[in-house]
Symmetry: T
Subunit: 66 residues, 12 copies
């Protein structure tokens, strides 16, 4: 029975929404790891132009190697 | 004049969005309490499958008995 | 070369979504300042009625006078 | 021997003083619970008018059912 | 499908160990609630006598009514 | 409908009480802004002499231009 | 020129007010040290009886030996 | 002389004790790294059944490749 | 009636358990002071060898001179 | 007697040192304000090239209009 | 367009200065990763002898594989 | 084998650099104690004049009586 998880901390980025940025981060980490849970520890971003905002969501992801 | 509010702390869960998870938590508490304000104190979640993410938003809700 | 940024802290408000509330705050500050980055430091809100939630997102915005 | 306390978190409100707001919160909770200790975790408020300030003190109260 | 959990915050107390104090808190809450998870948010205590230490562990417990 | 508030952070100072120091800060900011709410984020001070203590209360004030 | 201060951390206690509890702490430390500044880092307390509240204010005091 | 350490963050899990959970995390990381020090940053868990509690201890581990 | 407590902050160390490390710290301080309460503010440590872990528990101890 | 200070929060930037970045921030604010004190609340930066690091120091500056 | 960054957390060590310790950490990570930004999250150290201080700076480094 | 360290918290002050301020604090405490490690918990200061900045670094120092 696996009894240890590790944390990966990444920043997912999207110009669509906070949820899309979270999804970017999860997709990246789930390529190599089995993702068990995550926490969004900060929501940052920048204005790309007047109508476009880039969301940068820092995720701590609890995972195990696949 | 009522001069005391109490805090309820709940976790609202949704596979749609952060906002839908917040709404789940507010709806639950507003069944028995008059909700005055809330704060989202953490955004957590898990991957249900490759395309579905479950959002778990912890809310501190300032309220009074109805 | 400009070597100092200042922080403005504002609360953007919207009944649509967290992202719309962030946009409100950014739009206000970008009228007078060149916005370089932001961080959403708290997500609060209140129930307007049973179906409507007001999101109040506090932003720290790194910027420079235009 | 009772070996568990629970926490109640409330906001006591008063236009007189921080201490009066604390007293409001303690009185409310002590109606139903035996209050063992408290901590004032935030002091907030608003201006009612130019001369009157409302103090809103959030209390975490360690208590047991009476 | 139940989509909301609530938090109960209690202090479990024991003169045996940190783990026994945690167990005290969990047992109390699990009488009325289905306990899903907990976090030990502080470990405090006092000296009962030279050889005996009382552990007071504050738990935030995620749970649902049974 | 105005949908953005800004934060002003000031230190109110008084030798009378914590409440008087809060009032100093609120009065200053309310000269130019409509004050909506405040939070006292730190209470500091110094001894002026053996019988006199100066209270320095840092306030974060949510406000809008008048 | 003295270029080092030390911190003393004490809990001042009073049944009168937060300010009186602060004064208790400052008086104790100023017996042996020259007090330069203080910060009130927590406000706790307990109910002595229905009408009496004991305030326990933790102070970090910047000081030098007299 | 090696002058850089890296941090690994893992969650050690055990149904025996907090110390056993810490040991699980250390053993895992020490397979590939020379462990220099650790900090237990959170103690979480869940009830497996009425008599069994699972401890989940998050560790930040300062280490170097072996 | 003594109305001031002071804080001592120490690190208790043991290769047995978190509780034994706490006891080390309390015993040291209780030689010169009457210990009223404590809080374990961090749990750190190091691997002495593959089977031995040293626990280093930082304690804030509320106390008065004996 | 002036009894209110305000906080300005800025980011000073320099490729020389942390101290030079602090000086940048202080110089900017002291053009329009009388600076009373500051706190460096974060030290961030980026690599400009292999040999050059840019330091970005966030300062909270207590000040008054000149 | 790459839309995910990862965080590496390291401790850079130097007996020269805080900046040199930061440089140590950045150099190590930039061997294998493209460093985008960093934050110095703690400054610790020890006295090597009466005249020599070792600085240990913990860095969170936002980066991408080269 | 000594198994307890105590913490001293001091503010080292220098007009030269952050490192010189740290050195001031360490030198003071090492007169009476064997210094094992330190952490710089805040960097504050003030402008002495246009060209001179005073750095005030708060240190938590782990030590034992000599």
């Amino acid at each position: 029975m696996a009894s240890v998880f590790e944390y990966k901390e990444v920043v997912g980025i999207s110009i669509e929404s906070v949820e899309a940025a979270i999804q970017e981060g999860l997709t990246e980490v789930s390529a190599d790891y089995q993702v068990a849970w995550f926490e969004a520890v900060s929501i940052r971003g920048r204005m790309v132009d007047e109508k476009t905002t880039e969301y940068q969501v820092t995720l701590k992801i609890g995972c195990r190697p696949k």
